[in-house]
C-alpha cells in the first residue's frame, strides 16, 4: 500500500454531543505523515473534545476515525498508545516527590527494568537534544523541564502521531524555541504532530496546516504561512477583532502603590516564598508582572489583596498609607481591589447568585450592609448594573455564578471590582480561559480604569497580553521580582531570560533600570 497518499490520521464527520451542547459537529480533516497540523480555536470551540476522542478518552457519537486509511475505534488511551498515538497534556500528571525516572516508569504500559528504561530515556534525550536529569526530584524542576518529562514519556513509545495540548502556555520564549526544534525534528522523521493552541504567531512559525474550529464546527483548514495572524483570529472568533483603544500620549501621575521589600514565607512545602518584592505603580499606570506559572504569582496576589498579611506594615503603601498589616476587608475599604486567578471558589462562589457574589467583595465599599443586615435590593441593583455595563450574558442578578461560562463570569468579576472605582486594582490572569471577545472587553475596561487614574497591576503568564496592555513590566521568578522596565523599551529576549531565572546576572539585566522615567511613549 502506498502510504504517501494515505493520511496518517483522518477524521470524517466526527460528532460529539454533551447535554445541552454539540461539542463537535461533523468535523472532518486529515493529518499527513510528517505534518505539523494546528488545531486552532477559542476556549470551548471543541478542540479538547476532539483530541480526547482521537486519544480514546471519549468515544464519538457519530463519524469515523481512520488511521493509515483503516477505520478504527480507539477504545481507550492504552489502545491509542499501542497504535502509536502519544499525547502531552496541558496539565501534567507527575508526582512531585518522585524522580524523573520513577515518574516515567509509572507512566509506561509495559514494565521495563529501571536500568534499561534509563538507557532508553538517555537515548531519546540525546537524539532530540532534550536536557533532563533522570534522578532529579520533580518538585525541584521548572515547568519547562516537567513538560520535557511528558514529551520523553510520549517519545519512548515511538509515536506516529503526537498530540500537544497548549504546550507553550507555561513556557518562556527560549523554552518555546527549544520545543519547536524538537517538534520540527520529529516531523522531519515522519511523525505527525497535532498542535493545539490559540497563539497565532506560534502556529505561523511552526505549523504546515491549521484547522480552525468555532463553536464545535470546522470553519476552515488553511495554510498558516499565507494567512495573517489577524485573519486567522477573525476566523477563530467569527467576527472582526477589536483592538485596544489606548489614548495616545497619556501620562501617568504620582506614585500610588509602593511595594517595598515585601517578604512572605511559603504557605506549603511546595509553595513559593516571596523575597524582597519591590515595585512602584503610578496613577494611571498598568504594571505587568510576567513569569512562568508557579513562581510566586499566587502568593503575590494574596499578599497584595490582604488574604495573607505581612509582618512589615510599610511593605505595602497606597498614597502613603501603610497597608501591610491590614486585612482584606480593611484594604478594600482603603481602595485596593483584587481579582484572583481562580474564578470558581476564590473570586466567586459558584452556587451563589450574582447578587450574593456582589455582596462578597462590594458590601463595605458600596454600603450594602446596614446594622449587620444585608441590603439585598442594593446588591441586586449593583449586580444588574455590572451585568449591563459589562455585557455579561446572564439571565439576571439571580443567576448563580456557576451557571455562567468562564468568560462571562470573568467579565462579571472584573466588572464587580472595576465599578467600585478602586484606587488600586490587582488582577491575576484576567483573561485565562476567556474567549477573545470577552478578553478584548476586559482589556478595554482595564485601560479605561487606568485612564481614570487608578493604578493597576496585571499578573499574567501571557506575555503577549502584557506587552499589549501594560506600560511597565517586571518578571517574577522563584518569588523574586526583576527590576521594572518600560514596555516600549522591553526586549523579549531579556524578558525570556528573566522568566527562565537569570537573576543577579549583571550581563542579562545590564540595561534594566529600577527607576524609569515615566515620560510618555513616543
Amino acid at each position: 500500500m502506498g502510504t504517501e497518499a494515505t493520511p496518517r490520521l483522518e477524521l470524517k464527520s466526527i460528532t460529539k454531543r454533551f447535554p445541552g451542547v454539540l461539542a463537535n459537529d461533523q468535523v472532518s480533516f486529515s493529518v499527513q505523515p510528517g505534518e505539523i497540523h494546528a488545531l486552532l480555536g477559542e476556549n470551548g470551540a471543541g478542540k479538547s473534545t476532539l483530541v480526547k476522542m482521537i486519544y480514546g478518552i471519549m468515544q464519538p457519537d457519530g463519524g469515523e476515525i481512520r488511521w493509515n486509511g483503516e477505520r478504527i475505534v480507539v477504545a481507550n488511551p492504552k489502545a491509542a498508545r499501542k497504535l502509536g498515538i502519544g499525547m502531552v497534556f496541558q496539565h501534567f500528571s507527575l508526582f512531585e516527590a518522585m524522580t524523573v525516572l520513577e515518574n516515567i516508569a509509572l507512566g509506561m504500559d509495559a514494565k521495563i527494568p529501571a536500568r534499561e528504561l534509563e538507557a532508553r530515556i538517555k537515548e531519546v534525550m540525546t537524539q532530540y537534544g532534550l536536557k533532563l536529569e533522570p534522578h532529579r526530584i520533580v518538585s525541584t524542576l521548572s515547568v519547562g523541564e516537567r513538560q520535557r518529562i511528558e514529551i520523553v514519556r510520549a517519545l519512548l513509545l515511538n509515536p506516529k502521531l503526537l498530540i500537544m495540548d497548549e504546550p507553550t502556555s507555561v513556557l518562556t520564549p527560549q523554552e518555546v524555541e527549544q520545543l519547536f526544534i524538537v517538534l520540527r525534528q520529529l516531523a522531519s522523521e515522519g511523525c505527525s504532530i497535532l498542535y493545539i493552541s490559540h497563539k497565532l504567531h506560534e502556529i505561523k512559525a511552526l505549523c504546515h496546516t491549521a484547522t480552525i474550529l468555532r463553536g464545535g464546527k470546522l470553519v476552515d483548514t488553511c495554510n498558516p504561512s499565507v494567512e495573517t495572524s489577524r485573519s486567522m483570529a477573525e476566523k477563530m472568533i467569527g467576527g472582526n477583532l477589536k483592538t485596544i483603544e489606548k489614548a495616545e500620549g497619556r501620562t501617568v501621575g504620582r506614585e500610588k502603590l509602593i511595594v517595598n521589600r515585601l517578604n512572605m514565607p511559603a504557605r506549603s512545602h511546595f509553595g513559593v516564598s516571596l523575597k524582597d518584592i519591590t515595585f512602584t505603580v503610578r496613577e494611571g499606570e498598568i504594571f505587568g508582572i510576567a513569569g512562568v506559572a508557579g513562581n510566586g504569582q499566587n502568593a503575590l496576589l494574596l499578599a497584595l489583596s490582604g488574604e495573607t498579611l505581612t509582618d512589615d506594615p510599610g511593605a505595602i503603601t497606597v498614597d502613603g498609607a501603610q497597608l501591610g498589616r491590614l486585612t482584606a476587608k480593611q484594604r478594600r475599604l482603603a481602595g485596593v481591589s483584587s481579582v484572583p486567578e481562580e474564578r470558581n471558589g476564590h473570586a466567586a462562589v459558584p452556587e451563589f447568585t450574582l447578587a450574593d457574589n456582589s455582596v462578597l467583595t462590594a458590601r463595605d465599599r458600596l454600603g450594602m450592609v446596614k446594622v449587620g443586615l444585608i441590603d439585598h435590593k442594593a446588591a441586586r441593583t449593583y449586580a444588574g448594573e455590572v451585568i449591563s455595563t459589562f455585557a455579561v450574558k446572564a439571565l439576571g442578578p439571580g443567576s448563580t455564578a456557576g451557571s455562567l461560562s468562564g468568560g462571562n463570569l470573568q467579565k462579571y468579576i472584573m466588572g464587580r471590582e472595576i465599578m467600585q472605582n478602586p484606587a488600586v486594582l490587582v488582577v491575576s490572569q484576567p483573561t485565562w480561559g476567556v474567549d477573545a471577545g470577552a478578553a478584548a472587553a476586559i482589556h478595554q475596561a482595564l485601560v479605561d480604569l487606568a485612564a481614570a487614574g487608578s493604578a493597576i497591576v496585571v499578573i499574567s503568564q501571557d506575555l503577549d497580553e502584557l506587552l499589549s496592555l501594560c506600560d511597565t513590566l517586571a518578571v517574577i521568578n522563584e518569588g523574586r521580582l526583576s527590576p521594572s522596565m518600560k514596555v516600549a523599551d522591553a526586549d523579549i529576549e531579556e524578558i525570556g531570560l528573566l522568566m527562565g531565572g537569570v537573576h543577579g546576572d549583571p550581563a542579562a539585566t545590564a540595561n534594566l533600570h529600577p527607576e524609569l522615567a515615566h515620560a510618555h511613549q513616543a
Binding site: 477504545a75 489502545a79 476564590h346 462562589v349 451563589f352 450574593d356
Partner: protein
C-alpha cells in the same frame, strides 16, 4: 445499559425538598421489609413508629416536648455544619448546660420566680458555650480536629455529671440515689397549656427557627457562614476571618445545646440523674441534615425525629420490639439523606451501551 451521573447546570431546588421526604418514605419502606423478614409485623411496626404518634392526639404533647430540644440543638449545629465546622459534642454541651442551670437552682435555695428561671436559662446557654470553647480554642490555636475534641469532651461532661449528682449536688433526701433534688414548683418553666406537659421550651423551639432563618438569610453573619461553607477561599477573598467563623459557629452550637439542656431540665425532668443524657445531642445531628441545614427545615425534621422517639415507645408495647428500634430508623434516615444529597447537584441518566460496531477495536 449504564447508569451515569451527570452534573446539573444549577443545583436542583426540587431535589433539595424531595430528598428528605423520600428519605423518610424509604426508611419506612425498608422498615416494613426488614421487620417482615425478621418475623415481626413490619407494617404494624412502621405505622406505630411513624404514624400513631401523629394520629392520636394524646401523643402530641410527647412529640412536642421531645421535639423542642432536638430543634434547638439542631439549629445551632446547622450553623457549624454549614460552615464545615463539625461539632459532634452537642450531647456534652447539653449536659453541661443543664448542670449550669441546676447549679443556679441549687444556689438559689428554695427561691423561684421569673428572675431565677431566666438566670437558669442564661446559665444553661453559658454552660454549653463554655464547653464548646475548648474545641474552638484547640482548633484555632493548635489546629486540633474539632470532631475528636468535641466528642471526647462529651465523655468528660458525663464524668462531671456523675461526680456532681453523686457527690456535692446529691439530693440529701434522695435515699442515696445519685440525683439532684427536684426543682421547686416555682423554679420550673411555665406550662403553656394547663393539663399537659407542654412547657415554655416548646414555644422557644417554635420561635427560634424563624429567628435563625432571619439571621442566616439577611445578616452579614449568615452570609459569612454560607460563604465559608461553600468556598473557604472565596470567604478569605471577601475578607471573612476563618478563625472567627470557627469560634462563632462552635460557640453558637454549644450555646444552643446548653439552652436545650437547661430547658429540658427546668421544663420536663426537674431533676438531673445519671439518665439525663438521652442522646438528643447526637440525634440533633440527624435533625440538622434531614432539615437540610435550614432553620425551618430543622423545625420540621425535629418533629419527625421526635415522632420516631414517641413511636418507638408505642411499638414497644404493641408489637413488642425494643425501644432502641427507633434508633435504627433514625440512622436509616441519616443514611438515606446523606446518600441522596448527590441528587441535588447531579442527575441520574440511563445510557445505552456504546454501539457494538463490527469494527475491531484498536489494541486488540
Amino acid at each position: 445499559m449504564r447508569i451515569k451521573l451527570e452534573k446539573r447546570p444549577e443545583p436542583s431546588t426540587l431535589m433539595a425538598f424531595a430528598t428528605p421526604i423520600a428519605s423518610v418514605l424509604l426508611t419506612m419502606a425498608i422498615g416494613v421489609v426488614v421487620f417482615d423478614a425478621l418475623g415481626i409485623k413490619g407494617e404494624k411496626a412502621v405505622i406505630d413508629i411513624f404514624l400513631t404518634p401523629l394520629l392520636s392526639s394524646y401523643k402530641w404533647q410527647d412529640v412536642a416536648v421531645k421535639a423542642a430540644p432536638l430543634i434547638i440543638i439542631a439549629l445551632g449545629l446547622s450553623i457549624g455544619n454549614r460552615a464545615q465546622v463539625w461539632n459532634i459534642g452537642a450531647e456534652g454541651q447539653y449536659v453541661i448546660g443543664a448542670l449550669a442551670a441546676a447549679g443556679v437552682g441549687i444556689a438559689a435555695g428554695g427561691a423561684g420566680g421569673g428572675l431565677i428561671i431566666t438566670l437558669m436559662i442564661l446559665a444553661g446557654i453559658l454552660g454549653g458555650t463554655f464547653w464548646a470553647m475548648f474545641p474552638a480554642f484547640l482548633k484555632t490555636r493548635l489546629n486540633v480536629n474539632e470532631i475528636l475534641t468535641s466528642l471526647m469532651l462529651t465523655y468528660v461532661a458525663l464524668q462531671v455529671l456523675g461526680y456532681l449528682v453523686g457527690g456535692p449536688w446529691k439530693d440529701p433526701n434522695g435515699r442515696n440515689f445519685p440525683a439532684t433534688a427536684p426543682l421547686q414548683p416555682d423554679q420550673t418553666l411555665p406550662i403553656l397549656f394547663p393539663g399537659t406537659t407542654v412547657h415554655l421550651g416548646v414555644a422557644i423551639a417554635v420561635v427560634l427557627p424563624f429567628v435563625f432563618w432571619l439571621i442566616m438569610s439577611r445578616s452579614v453573619f449568615g452570609f459569612q457562614i454560607r460563604v465559608v461553607g461553600s468556598a473557604p477561599d472565596a470567604a478569605r477573598h471577601g475578607g471573612f476571618d476563618a478563625k472567627q467563623t470557627i469560634w462563632l459557629s462552635l460557640l453558637i452550637g454549644g450555646g444552643m445545646a446548653g439552652l436545650a439542656g437547661a430547658l429540658e431540665f427546668a421544663g420536663s425532668l426537674k431533676a438531673i440523674n445519671l439518665g439525663f443524657p438521652s442522646g438528643y445531642g447526637f440525634t440533633a445531628i440527624i435533625v440538622s441534615f434531614l432539615g437540610r441545614l435550614n432553620p425551618i427545615g430543622c423545625l420540621i425534621a425535629g418533629i419527625v425525629l421526635a415522632v420516631t422517639y414517641v413511636g418507638g415507645q408505642v411499638a414497644q408495647t404493641t408489637v413488642h420490639i425494643p425501644n432502641s428500634t427507633a434508633g435504627i430508623f433514625q440512622a436509616m434516615m441519616l443514611f438515606f439523606i446523606l446518600a441522596s444529597d448527590i441528587l441535588i447537584r447531579y442527575r441520574v441518566r440511563f445510557v445505552g451501551s456504546p454501539k457494538a460496531a463490527p469494527i475491531p477495536a484498536a489494541g486488540e
